[in-house]
Symmetry: C2
Subunit: 112 residues, 2 copies
């Protein structure tokens, strides 16, 4: 587990990129995907996931669609076209930020 405070600020980027890569996903699926891709070192809890999803929806970056599976209703989230552009932009911002941080912290990019 990483120091959790580093995750701050990257949540929206992670969610948008996952949706960009995988099309529509439901909340629980997103938490599991992050868990798997990060080898369990990133823990995306529901308490932070759902408020963020709702916020992104309010901003028009994603939409939802409810699918019935027997009695259970599953809620899928997927990007709008604005959301797709934003996903790309956020990832680029993140990369630029990393480059800057490497310079400030004197980390050689080869080391990662």
């Amino acid at each position: 587990m990483h120091s959790p405070e580093l995750l701050k600020g990257t949540l929206q980027t992670i969610i948008l990129k996952l949706l960009a890569d995988h099309g529509k996903m439901y909340g629980y699926e997103i938490t599991q995907k992050v868990r798997d891709l990060s080898d369990e070192s990133l823990q995306l809890t529901e308490g932070s996931l759902y408020p963020t999803l709702h916020k992104l929806e309010a901003q028009g970056l994603l939409k939802t669609k409810k699918i019935s599976l027997g009695k259970r209703v599953r809620k899928y989230y997927f990007l709008t076209s604005i959301g797709q552009n934003t996903a790309i932009k956020k990832v680029e911002d993140f990369e630029a930020f990393i480059k800057t941080m490497f310079r400030v912290l004197q980390i050689s990019p080869q080391s990662i």
Copy 2:
């Protein structure tokens, strides 16, 4: 300028690493160093710097020494031995976090 929210969680790491690399520094000097190293894309404001410095001091990671320059008193901050270990550890944590994020965001390390 990067989206400021990415900076969250990295402040302590930046300060500790700068002090580890440059020995003793005073507050204003730290803000300028960050500004220079980041080509002005990271803005470390005093409102976040000083509270963080004081917090690190309270945790025993750094100590201070006042130097008189005429009428002006300059306050230098420098790492304790615990602080030096912590600086190394924080940078390692950051590197590990980046590796994880690259996997989650499907970013190739070569791209940076």
